[in-house]
Symmetry: C2
Subunit: 194 residues, 2 copies
């Protein structure tokens, strides 16, 4: 299964598992397909599964009072898509997770994941390290949003995720940057005149 191979490579970046340990690891991961414009999670639902993306792309976003989407992040291949808060406490989520392309994932439920922590304590370490990395990423994002202009944040994004820009519409990218799509259009025009 090519899907599990991708997960195996991902895990190997954090911890070392023997072949049999990896068998244990993947026992409770199940493949699933979410087609474009369908949802892995909707606001108000409980986030039952943590999903490892093997193909495609999600946007994880918050809908504000005005119905505008604020995009927390995009999850492409080898990223994880969850509402962590909803998942760990098994309470209603405030986030939506929607497929922007036909997307395939490997999902694991909360109870299965807790069992996995028991069975393979190394997995605890893996998720601790992954969480630390996410934390650093979000801290950097907060710093950018505090001090940088929209143009600087756009350039940072392009530099950091060059491949991703191609897959997104301008509106989605604008919702991630926290600006209007019209203004993003103007930024791009300004930059192209150099």
């Amino acid at each position: 299964m090519i899907d599990f191979e991708l997960l195996r490579q991902h895990v190997a970046k954090y911890i070392q598992l023997s072949a049999t340990e990896f068998e244990t690891f993947i026992t409770d991961f199940h493949p699933r397909k979410i087609n474009k414009k369908n949802f892995l999670l909707r606001e108000g639902e409980i986030c039952k599964y943590e999903a490892f993306v093997t193909k495609g792309c999600f946007r994880i976003y918050y809908l504000d009072e005005n119905g505008d989407a604020q995009i927390l992040y995009f999850a492409v291949e080898t990223w994880w898509a969850t509402d962590i808060d909803s998942f760990i406490h098994q309470r209603p989520s405030i986030l939506n997770i929607e497929a922007l392309e036909d997307t395939t994932v490997l999902v694991i439920s909360k109870t299965d994941k807790d069992k996995l922590y028991e069975a393979l304590p190394k997995v605890e370490k893996m998720f601790r390290i992954m969480n630390q990395h996410s934390l650093v990423t979000f801290q950097r994002r907060v710093i950018s949003s505090l001090g940088k202009t929209a143009e600087q944040r756009y350039l940072e994004f392009v530099e950091k995720y060059p491949a991703l820009e191609q897959r997104l519409t301008q509106q989605q990218l604008a919702a991630y940057l926290g600006i209007s799509h019209e203004f993003l259009s103007k930024i791009r025009k300004r930059l192209s005149r150099r």
Copy 2:
């Protein structure tokens, strides 16, 4: 030691440790005092210690090209102060950690913390959970910064950390909210006229 008691209570929120396990836990934590306006960490240094605040307050901030401080967070009693990225990879930090009051902490080094993970795997779980909570907090902060006005963010802060507002100058709070201190002054005036 009253300091260790605060840490004991903090740990108890996440995991259960026996008296002897807690003894092991605190072995490599050392008390330290950082007076007002002194630094626990400066940009460019390697973050050698993770610090649990037992009294006082830090600001953890980034200095941009113009020399303006962008405050990532304030660490008061029972909070942890670190540059995670610098600490886990033991590489130069981009953050500064400065005491806003005379502050006492319990610090642990990277190698001692790694030993602790070995000795007490439960501690791995504790930090995983703590990291998840921080992650949720920073995700929320990103959402706020994407979609809310300065006034809304100010009101959110006051509601979430009512005690903290008293301890901060307006400039510090403004640097946390990502606005000029003059504008925060105007927001407060506007709100008081109701």
